[in-house]
């Protein structure tokens, strides 16, 4: 099995070339190599799914489905591409499908602030010495999350991929399979719409 080139699970620590050797090992049937890829990418995929779906359990299900789908199709993965981009596209597609299903069943509900508060946010800036500040930050995050969830699907996915996940336009274009110009125009509208939504919620930014 290839040696890990970076610490799995650390935010922003995934080296693009580091995935390929595990992907190749996985294509030869090495399940441990796929396990490494899961460890590396599960967090990001889960968060994309969560921001798109707004539901923690659905996000977990979709993340699992996406990884299984990726494993099944790993033989078709072209090593010239970036594995994480390919995995993002699978996750986004599964999340979209789940949205359609949940909306069809009229079960899709946006997270309430209370629900969001109960979830542990690990990377947000907060002061551990001030519980009030932590609570304030959580409330603010919940409202932002609600505003994001209220965006149209096509705006929301671009915003999540660009402003939350920090992906490049090239990556987003590959994931969503749309031209770069469309990505930019959707992003501009998404930001404008989100700004207006946040102004309504907060009154002043």
């Amino acid at each position: 099995m290839p040696r890990l080139s970076n610490q799995a699970g650390e935010k922003g620590s995934i080296l693009p070339d580091g995935d390929l050797e595990f992907v190749r090992a996985c294509q030869k049937g090495d399940l441990n190599a796929f396990d490494v890829l899961v460890v590396r990418h599960q967090r990001k995929m889960f968060n994309v799914a969560y921001r798109m779906l707004g539901n923690y359990d659905d996000a977990a299900d979709v993340t699992q489905e996406a990884f299984v789908a990726a494993y099944k199709a790993i033989g078709t993965f072209k090593t010239e591409a970036k594995f994480s981009t390919w995995l993002y596209s699978i996750t986004v597609n599964h999340a979209k499908n789940r949205l359609k299903q949940t909306r069809g069943r009229k079960e899709h509900e946006r997270l309430s602030p209370a629900e969001t508060e109960n979830l542990e946010l690990e990377s947000c800036p907060r002061s551990d010495e001030n519980p009030y500040a932590i609570m304030e930050q959580k409330e603010k995050d919940a409202l932002v999350h609600q505003c994001i969830a209220s965006l149209d699907d096509e705006y929301r996915e671009v915003l999540i991929l660009r402003d939350i996940q920090g992906l490049s336009y090239e990556e987003i274009r590959g994931i969503l399979n749309i031209p770069e110009g469309t990505v930019k125009s959707r992003l501009a509208r998404a930001r404008e719409a989100l700004k207006n939504g946040l102004l309504k919620v907060f009154g002043d930014l």
Binding site: V68, V144, I164, E192, L198
Partner: protein, 317 residues
């Protein structure tokens, strides 16, 4: 200088997502001189910061285990498929070789079948050979010595034999004559051809007898039990005197111009095969009825064509 409306469209992409640095510079200048646009730009910057500050959620603690359990399950299904087709470098040549073997075998079977069809479509073989193929040997009541003396005994036409030797055909002619004199079946002579006693080379009578080794097989069988097999006699003739009736049948066939007449003695019954014209069948049936009890196989009744082969099974009643 661009108007505020145009700037506002670009503000959400300012400063890093614009098309060119020139655009960014142009907006920067505008924002320096336009308070309203600067305020909107500030709100957008704060929005971006709020979004980017959103914390990452930790996935469920056992998500990795769940994913890998599902993946292993999938791998188990996949491995069955892989056993058949992977690794490609090994399996594909083997599969191609196997496919070639199957193709060659199929071709061989096809060609063999084609030959068989061609044989079936070709003109019929002489009745003697045909019947030997189709009739299974029947137990013989005669001794091995008798069998040797009778087996495959050919009865050529009298003209083809040296003078003084008695051929089966001559015997037949003599017997026929005696029968006529003795009046055993005088009616048989009613349709005797003008060239009486003359037997053409085509009307040779062959005699065959089955191997004695098979005696035990069907001694318990009724003489015409062989009719129950695929090779049924066309006509069954129940008589009191087997040998004499067989000779009479041969004579009738000769008189009706039948060809390739073959007699076969099989354990208590005699089979006589011949080729003859369809229109003579009526006469044949009428004469056979004078010799004994006649039964006609159903499949024989519907047989068509100018020349037909006929098998007369004679058994003792």
């Amino acid at each position: 200088m661009k108007k505020c409306k145009d700037i506002e469209k670009l503000l959400p992409l300012y400063p890093n997502d614009l098309r060119s640095p020139d655009e960014a510079e142009m907006i920067r200048r505008h924002l320096a001189s336009c308070a309203a646009c600067a305020e909107k730009s500030a709100a957008l910057e704060k929005t971006k910061k709020l979004v980017s500050d959103l914390g990452e959620l930790a996935p469920p603690p056992r998500l990795r285990q769940k994913i890998m359990a599902a993946v292993r399950e999938e791998a188990a299904k996949k491995s069955v498929w892989e056993k058949l087709f992977y690794p490609l470098r090994v399996k594909i040549p083997v599969q191609i070789a196997a496919a070639l073997v199957v193709a060659v075998f199929a071709l061989y079977v096809y060609r063999t079948g084609e030959d068989t069809l061609q044989k079936a479509a070709s003109p019929p073989a002489p009745v003697v050979q045909k019947r030997q193929e189709f009739f299974l040997p029947q137990p013989s009541e005669t001794s091995p010595k008798d069998s040797l003396s009778q087996n495959n005994r050919k009865i050529p036409s009298p003209a083809s034999l040296p003078e003084g030797k008695r051929s089966a055909a001559a015997e037949t002619a003599e017997v026929f004559g005696k029968q006529t004199e003795g009046g055993s079946h005088p009616e048989l002579l009613a349709h005797q051809p003008a060239a009486e006693g003359r037997v053409s080379s085509k009307s040779e009578v062959k005699r065959e007898e089955s191997a004695p080794a098979l005696d035990a097989v069907s001694k318990t069988q009724r003489p015409m039990d062989l009719s129950g097999r695929a090779q049924k006699p066309d006509i069954l003739l129940g008589v009191a005197d087997l040998e004499r009736s067989a000779a009479d049948v041969e004579k009738i066939l000769v008189r009706l111009g039948a060809r390739n007449i073959v007699r076969r003695t099989t354990g208590g019954e005699i089979l006589i095969f011949a080729e003859m014209k369809k229109q003579d069948m009526k006469d044949l049936m009428a004469r056979l009825k004078l010799i004994g009890r006649v039964e006609v196989n159903e499949s024989f009744v519907g047989r068509t064509g100018g020349d037909i082969s006929v098998a007369v099974g004679i058994f003792r009643e």
